[in-house]
């Protein structure tokens, strides 16, 4: 989290040795800087202890959440187009899905997010698909290796596209449905995002899958109206619009 003080000590020696002459004032500054460095070591140690304790708590609750997520996944499998609907209702995720991908994502029957044992070290997102006209794979996995060893990297399952169905080709002008939406994320398509492993540390979309959609997909499945959270709390008024939107989804 924070730079270790070992570093500053080294740098401090350089500073001090570079002050020529070594007057009383310089010596005083040096002494003070050393004292600040000692405090910094104490703070760093406390931060480290705090991080470790917090990590343990997160791991403990991850273990407790895991079986619930598993059971949830099994139930969700029985709700047709659950994940597709949740994605298309999500203000950020929907904006990366282009028209042909919409067709494809209707074959998505399960999403699973798994954090690694040491949750700092990374996570993976699994997309499970029914047999479909677009590719051969049953599961597409995007895997993030973040800490603490090696440089961060991500990997994606190689997609075995069926003839002429590579959805990562010619997607540039295909954002038919998202024209009116505010584009908060870089404009790539779902599959362009999936295969992009250039900057795994700032993969906003992966984080939305992991920290938002996965944590509570039901709210997106049920609430297509993005504006609703800002609207006044009036049940009667908001009723009609939600229902109409959901019915549309049901009919598709």
């Amino acid at each position: 989290m924070l730079k270790m003080s070992h570093d500053s000590s080294k740098k401090m020696k350089k500073v001090c040795s570079s002050i020529e002459g070594g007057s009383d004032l310089d010596v005083a500054i040096q002494k003070n800087l050393e004292a600040v460095d000692v405090f910094q070591i104490e703070i760093d140690n406390l931060n480290m202890k705090a991080s470790e304790e917090i990590l343990k708590i997160e791991q403990k609750y991850n273990q407790q959440r895991k079986p619930i997520f598993k059971k949830r996944g099994e139930v969700i499998k029985n709700i047709q187009n659950f994940w597709f609907t949740a994605i298309m209702n999500h203000p950020d995720l929907s904006s990366i899905v282009d028209e042909r991908e919409e067709e494809c994502l209707q074959f998505l029957n399960k999403i699973e997010v798994e954090e690694f044992e040491d949750i700092r070290s990374g996570y993976q997102i699994e997309f499970h698909f029914d047999e479909n006209p677009f590719f051969e794979n049953a599961v597409l996995i995007k895997e993030f290796h973040l800490e603490p060893v090696g440089s961060p990297n991500s990997q994606s399952t190689q997609i075995k596209w069926k003839d002429n169905n590579d959805l990562t080709k010619n997607t540039d002008n295909n954002f038919g449905k998202s024209g009116g939406r505010k584009r908060r994320l870089e404009s790539k398509s779902f599959f362009l995002w999936f295969i992009d492993n250039v900057d795994p540390v700032s993969d906003d979309i992966a984080e939305i899958f992991k920290d938002d959609l996965w944590q509570n997909p039901l709210q997106y499945y049920l609430v297509p109206d993005i504006e609703e959270t800002n609207a006044p709390e009036n049940d009667e008024d908001s009723d009609s619009s939600s229902v109409v939107e959901i019915q549309e989804t049901e009919e598709q």
Copy 2:
């Protein structure tokens, strides 16, 4: 953190009651959605417990860090221009300090960041100044009230500018020194930031003061060379440039 399931239950009733006829399939979907909602409640409860435990740990360590920060502040007071130098060496903070503010910030003798007892509820940043030609105040405080009651807001001490020295006026074209720097933050000046309370929830600069500079100012005081972290780890080579930069600061 996550929306409580109470909300989704209400919305689910709407969805279900809007499915006309109530065929076996609809009933099945409804049952499945209800099951997903029960899992969501379990997950929400675990999340809440996890947050509470993490909060307690953070509070515990905040208490332990506090006296160290206090002692650190006293020592730093004896190092002339410590905070000014750290700010000017900080890649983000330096970019908001305009030329006249540089002069003013040399009177800054202490920064203190204090998180409120319930750390979710907010924090304040105190800037202590020696007597100076710019304003009457000895302390300028920017205070953030974030959660859990009321809408988030921030307040700043009203600055009593001395004659013709209001640094928030006519600052637009004054960014003399920062021309070559990458501007990662909105281009406001330090004092324009200080008095700006429009969007307290996304006050990036306040967060940099709280989470970065305050946590480890020594690293910025000692390391003016922003690029250094990307440079190869070669002590001999990097020596000369660091030292030169620091000497420049000493001479100012």
